[in-house]
Symmetry: D3
Subunit: 270 residues, 6 copies
Amino acid sequence: MVLTLKDFLNVLETVASARWAEPWDNPGLQIGSPNQEIHKIFSSLDPTLKALMSASKAGAQLLFTHHPLIFKPLSRLQTDVFPGNIIAEAARRGIAVVAAHTNLDAAPGGINDILAGLLDLTDMEVLKPVDTADGAGLGRIGDLPGPTSLSAVAEAVRKVMGTADIRVVGAPDLLIRRIAVVGGSGGSLVGLAYERSADLLLTGDIGHHVALEAEALGIALIDAGHFCSEKTAFNLFAGNLETLLRSKGWETVVEIDEGEGDPLRICDGG
Amino acid sequence: MVLTLKDFLNVLETVASARWAEPWDNPGLQIGSPNQEIHKIFSSLDPTLKALMSASKAGAQLLFTHHPLIFKPLSRLQTDVFPGNIIAEAARRGIAVVAAHTNLDAAPGGINDILAGLLDLTDMEVLKPVDTADGAGLGRIGDLPGPTSLSAVAEAVRKVMGTADIRVVGAPDLLIRRIAVVGGSGGSLVGLAYERSADLLLTGDIGHHVALEAEALGIALIDAGHFCSEKTAFNLFAGNLETLLRSKGWETVVEIDEGEGDPLRICDGG
Amino acid sequence: MVLTLKDFLNVLETVASARWAEPWDNPGLQIGSPNQEIHKIFSSLDPTLKALMSASKAGAQLLFTHHPLIFKPLSRLQTDVFPGNIIAEAARRGIAVVAAHTNLDAAPGGINDILAGLLDLTDMEVLKPVDTADGAGLGRIGDLPGPTSLSAVAEAVRKVMGTADIRVVGAPDLLIRRIAVVGGSGGSLVGLAYERSADLLLTGDIGHHVALEAEALGIALIDAGHFCSEKTAFNLFAGNLETLLRSKGWETVVEIDEGEGDPLRICDGG
Amino acid sequence: MVLTLKDFLNVLETVASARWAEPWDNPGLQIGSPNQEIHKIFSSLDPTLKALMSASKAGAQLLFTHHPLIFKPLSRLQTDVFPGNIIAEAARRGIAVVAAHTNLDAAPGGINDILAGLLDLTDMEVLKPVDTADGAGLGRIGDLPGPTSLSAVAEAVRKVMGTADIRVVGAPDLLIRRIAVVGGSGGSLVGLAYERSADLLLTGDIGHHVALEAEALGIALIDAGHFCSEKTAFNLFAGNLETLLRSKGWETVVEIDEGEGDPLRICDGG
Amino acid sequence: MVLTLKDFLNVLETVASARWAEPWDNPGLQIGSPNQEIHKIFSSLDPTLKALMSASKAGAQLLFTHHPLIFKPLSRLQTDVFPGNIIAEAARRGIAVVAAHTNLDAAPGGINDILAGLLDLTDMEVLKPVDTADGAGLGRIGDLPGPTSLSAVAEAVRKVMGTADIRVVGAPDLLIRRIAVVGGSGGSLVGLAYERSADLLLTGDIGHHVALEAEALGIALIDAGHFCSEKTAFNLFAGNLETLLRSKGWETVVEIDEGEGDPLRICDGG
Amino acid sequence: MVLTLKDFLNVLETVASARWAEPWDNPGLQIGSPNQEIHKIFSSLDPTLKALMSASKAGAQLLFTHHPLIFKPLSRLQTDVFPGNIIAEAARRGIAVVAAHTNLDAAPGGINDILAGLLDLTDMEVLKPVDTADGAGLGRIGDLPGPTSLSAVAEAVRKVMGTADIRVVGAPDLLIRRIAVVGGSGGSLVGLAYERSADLLLTGDIGHHVALEAEALGIALIDAGHFCSEKTAFNLFAGNLETLLRSKGWETVVEIDEGEGDPLRICDGG
C-alpha cells in the first residue's frame, strides 16, 4: 500500500490537529496534490531552498517542516525570490510541502511535551490550554526531580539541545523547582508562567522587554535559541512519525535533514 | 533586444496603470520572474487551463489575460484544482502569467474606450472618473450619431460583439440618443448612468434587481454578456500591444487566443 | 373573524420564520400598522409601483411580495422616486406591504422545496442548512428519477418555469443524475453544489466568473432567470397561503398578480 | 413664482449647509417630493404629531423643524408608532418635512450666533470651528460688556429664553466675563470652553458627570434647558427665513408654531 | 483580624460582582495594594479631591465610591489636574480607592433595589436582566400599593431623596400604578420601561430627546437628578457594608461622607 | 532661573519631537506636574524600580528614560506590582518620569545618528523617513570608510558598545561596505535594509524568522543586544542634554545611571 499525500494529511491530523493551531498560523498543506504518492519524506525545521534541494537529492516526494512556507497569503508568485522561488521549484520537481507548526507545538506528544520529557519534568501540565479541552495547548509546565541551581539547569539545557549560545535572566545560584517550557518564541507567556508558579521559563527569541518583565516579576529565563529549542524535539517527532506510518501499514521512509543549522550563530569575539 | 517580463510590466504600466485598478482587484504579475525573457505573448480573456496549454503549444513565454488568475490571496497551493493546477503548470512550463483587468477597463484607450469607439459614440466622457484625474475611470458615456431605436441598437451590438445572446430592458421602439458603456459586469452603475442622462446602459452580467431598478428609473439596458462585451475589445487591445512593443524596439510577437469561447451559451430550446 | 396584519405576520412566521433569513436581508413588515384589517391579499414577486396599483385596483389591504421594498435602511423618504414613491402611495391608500424573501427561500415547504418538487427530485436534502437545525436552509439537492441529458433537463425546466431564455454551461449530452436547485441568485453556491456531488446547479442571475468556475469544476449550470426561477414557485406558495389562512378560520382572499413579467427579456435578434 | 421644495432646500443650503452637520446627524429632507409647491411653511422645534397636525390645520405644505424626524435609518415603517405614524400622516396629507439641525447650530447666523447676540456678547468667535473654514462651527464664545455675577447672568438668561427652570454649577457671586454658548446639548464641550478661557458655559441637558467635570475645572455652568435654549433662537431664524425667501421673489409665508412647549417641566413641589 | 484591601474586594465581589458591570464601565480597584490593611472606610458618591481629603482627615485607609476615579484608561499621570491629582494624593497618603458602579446598580440588593424599596414597590422585577441570570440587571420595575397621581409620586420622591429640583413629563393628575426605577442616568431605558408596561420611569439626567420620546409613547417621567437619585441609596448600601464586614469578623468602620452635595443646583430665580 | 518640568518637555520637543514617535508608542510625560522645579535629572535606559530609587538617592526631581513607564494605558493602579509600584513611589517622592523613545530613535541627532557616528559611517541617510520630512525617521544607513570583513565589523561593534554577547548571520569573511543601523529591535526592517543595498543590518532582539529572512535575502545581520545597542548612545544623548539646557541658561545637572545593566546575560557554559 502506497501512502498518498491525503493519507499523510489525515494521519498528521490525528497527532497534530489543525484545530490546535494559533489563529494567525497556516500549518498543513503548503503545496501539493492530495492524490500524489509519497514514498519518502524529508524532514527539516525550516522550508528553505537548501532544504528543498536536499529533499530532492534524497529522492523524497514530500518536504515536511515545522515552519510554514506560506505565512502571508500570496497575491502573486514572484518566482525568483522567497517564497515564490521555493514554491515554483517544488512545483517543477513535484515535491509537496506540508508543515506542522503551532498545532504540533500544542499537541499532546508534540514539541513541548517532547521538550519537557527531555528535561525529566514530572507532574506535567499544559501551560495555557486551548478551548478544545483534549489535552492540547501552549507550552508545558512541570517539576524538576529536585531543586537545581539556574546555572545547572542552563548547563543541562545546553547538553540536551546541543546549543552553544545560552542566555539567562536571574542569579546563577537561584534554585529552580518548577519550569515552564515553550519551544520557539514563547516570551509573551512569561506573565502566565509566573502566575502558574514557575521559577523559570525556558524558550527562545527573548527580547529586552521580556527580560525586563521577568526581572520585575522575579522569574528566571533561559533563552536556548529558537532553532535549538525546536530542532531536537522536531527530529524526535519526525522519527516517531515513520514508526506511526509503518504501524498503519505504510512503508514510507522518513529522512531527517542533518545538514541544517541555526542561521544565527554566536560570534567568537576572539 | 529581448523583452524581459520586467520590461513588459513597465510598458503595461504606461497604458494600464495599477493605480487605476479597483481596490478589490489583483491585476499585474500573477506568476513569473522579472528577469525571464519573453519572445512570444499569448493573449486570452480568461486564465483557464486550456488557455495555458494553448499558450504552451504556441511557444509563448507569457500568458496575458484580462481576468486575474489569483483573486483571493492563497494560503496554500493545491495543485490538482483551480487555480493551483494552473499555477503549478505555469511553473513547470516556465510560462509567466500577467493580467490587466479593472486598470485596463479604466485606462484611456482601454476596454471601455475601445467599446465606445466600436459603437461610434461621440462627445465621449468617462462615466465615473477615478481620483487620479488623468482621464481614467469606470465606463464611458457618449452620444450616438442620431436617435436610434433600442432594437436597432441591440442589433448593432450583436454584430459588433458577435454575440448570439442579447437581453434587453425597455421597449423595442424606445429612442436612444446617449449610451453608457461598461464592459464586463457594470450593472451597479445603472443609477449613475441615469443621473448622467444616458438613455441606455450597455454592459454584461445583469441580474434581476438591476433590471427592476432600470425599469423603475426608466432607463434601457442591453446585456451583451460579460464574455462578448469584453472579448472583441480585449483582442483589439492585445493587437495594439504588439505594435506598441515594436515601436519601442522589441520584436515580441502577440498571438490572440482564437479558440476560447463563452462558457455560458444560450440553450436552443428545441 | 377578520385577519389583522399582526395575525398575518404571526402566521407567516410559522411557515417562513425570520430567523431563517440571511443577515443582509430585510423581510417581514415593510409598511403598515399591526392592527389594520386585511380582507384581501394581493401577491406579486416584486414590490413595484405597478404591483401596488394593481393591489389597490383589486381592493386589497395588503401587498405580499417576495422581494423586500426596503433593502437599504432609509434616512429620508423622497416621494417621487423608488422606493419612496411606493411607500408614500401605500401610506395614502392604506395598503400594507409585507415580504417573505430569503426566509421563504430557506423554509421547509418554501420556494426551493416547491422548485425541487416541480422537477420531481427524490431523496431531497437541504443544500446548505442553517444553524437552527429545523430543516431550513439555502437551496435543495436531490436526484432525478433517472439519468437525463442536460439538454433534456433544460427543456423540462423551460416548460415548468415558462421561460423562453434558458442559458447553460456544459455539454448538451452530459448525463445529469443529481441536481442542486436555488431559486433567484444562487451562483455563489456552485462550489458547494459540486462538493455535494451535484451534476447540475439550477439557478438564476449567473455571471461570467461563476460560469468559468463551473467549467473548471466540471459541473453543469442552468440559468433559468431570476424572475422565472421564482415566480411559479412563489405563486404556488401564495395560493397555499390562502388555504392555510382558511384552515385557521380567516376568510381572507389571496389574489395572484398575473400581470407582472420579467423586466429582462431576450432580444429577438432577427 | 411659486417656491418648490427643491428651491427651499437650495436656499436652506446657502444659510445652513449640509457640510456643517455632525457626522451622526440627518438634517435636510425627511419626507417629500422636490417638485411639490410650497405656499406656506410651518415652523416647529420638534417634528411631533401635534406639530404636523398644526401644520396641516394652518394649511402649510411644509413642516420645517430643528430636530430631524428620522434619526436612525428605517428598515420598516410601522405606521402606528413614532416616527412611522408621522411619516405616514405626512404622506397622506402631502406635507413635506425638512429639518435644519447641527448644520444650523454651526452656521454663521445660525442658532448659536443668535443666542450669543441675545446675550450681547462681543468679540465673538466660533468655539470649535469645523474644517471647512468658512466661519461655521460648534458653539460660540465671547465677552460680556462687563464683569457680571453668575446669578445676574442666570437671571438674564431666564428672561431672554423665557425659561422657569434654570440650574447652575458655581458660586452665585462668581464674576463672569467670558461666556461659551452652545444651544441644545453642549455639555461635552465643557473642557474646550475651559481651555478657551470661558468663565461660563451656557447650554442644556447637563448631566451629573459634566457638572462634576466643571466643578473640578473651576468653570461655571448654566443649564437653561435644551428646549428653551433653542426655541427662541429657532423662532428668530424661521422669521428671518421668510424675509430671505421674499428677497428672492417668493411670496411664501412662514408661520411659527406658538403652541409647542417643553415636554419636561419643573415640578411645583408644593 | 484586620481587613486587607484584598479581603474587601472579595467581599464586595460577593454583593456587587464585576460580571454585572456594563462593558464600558471600570469598577473595582482604582488605586491601592491588595495587602494593605483597612481599619476605616470612607464612603462618598464621587471620588473628588474634597472627598479624598475628607477621607484622609477621617483617618480612613480606603475611599469607597460609586463612580470610578479612572474612566478613560490613562497613558500619563499629570499630577496637577483631575484625575492625576487625586491619584497622586492617594498614593502619597496611602489611601486606596475602590468603586462599585454599574455592578452595584445591577446587583440584587444594590442601588436600584434599595431605591425601589424606598418607594414601597411590590412584585418587583429586574427591568433589563443581564445574561448571568442570577437576579442582577439594569433597573427595577414594580407596583405601587395603589394608583397614585403623578404629582403625589413626585412629592414622595422629593421627600425620600431629599431633592429640591424635581422635573416631570406627564400630566400632574395622571394615575401611576407601575414604576420603573433606574438610579443615575437611565433615560435610554424609557422604551423598555414602556414595553414592560410601566406608567412612569424614575431616573436622573433626562435630556430633551428622551422627554420627547416619553411624550410620544405616553409614559410619564420623573427626573430626580443623578446625584439625589443615588446618594440616599448609596449611603444605605455603605451602612449595610459595615454590618456585613462585622458579621464576617472584621471590625472595620464605615463612615459616610455627609459633606458632599449635588454640584448642579437649582437657581433661585428671584 | 530654575527649570520646570514644562520647560524640560518643551526643550525635549525641539530635539525629539512627539510627532516622530511610532503610533503604538507612548513617549513624553509619564507622571509629574508641569510646574514642578527640576534641579537634577537622572538618566536611565529603563524605568525600573532600581532606577527610580537611584534617582531618589541622587536627589533628582526627574527620572529621564528611553523606554516609557506606561506602555498599555492603565485602568487601575495596583501599587505593589509593575508599573503601579513605580508610579506610586514616584508620586510619594515627588519624582517626575519622562521618556524619549521612538521619537528619540527617529530624531536627527538621536539614538541612531549617534550609533552611526560611533561606527564612522559616511554618506549617512535615514533608512525609513517619516512623513514629516524634516530629516527624522527609523534607522540610518551609510558607508564604512572601506570594505571590512563581517568578523572585523562585529569586533568593532563589540568594542564600541561594550557588549560580550554578539551574534551574527553571514559568513565571517563576507565583505561589508554599507551598513543599516537600528538601535533596539529593528529586525522587521531587514527587507528594507536589503532593498536599500545594505550589506549588513546592525540591531538587537533578532529572532529566528528574521535570521532566516536575512539568509534568504543574502544580507548579513549583527545582533548586538537591545540593551547594549542603545545604552551607549542614550548616555551620550543625556550628556548632550545637560549642555543644551545650560546653553539656554538652566543650571540643571544631568546624572547618568552607571549602575544599570542588561537583564539578559550570556551564560558562561563551562
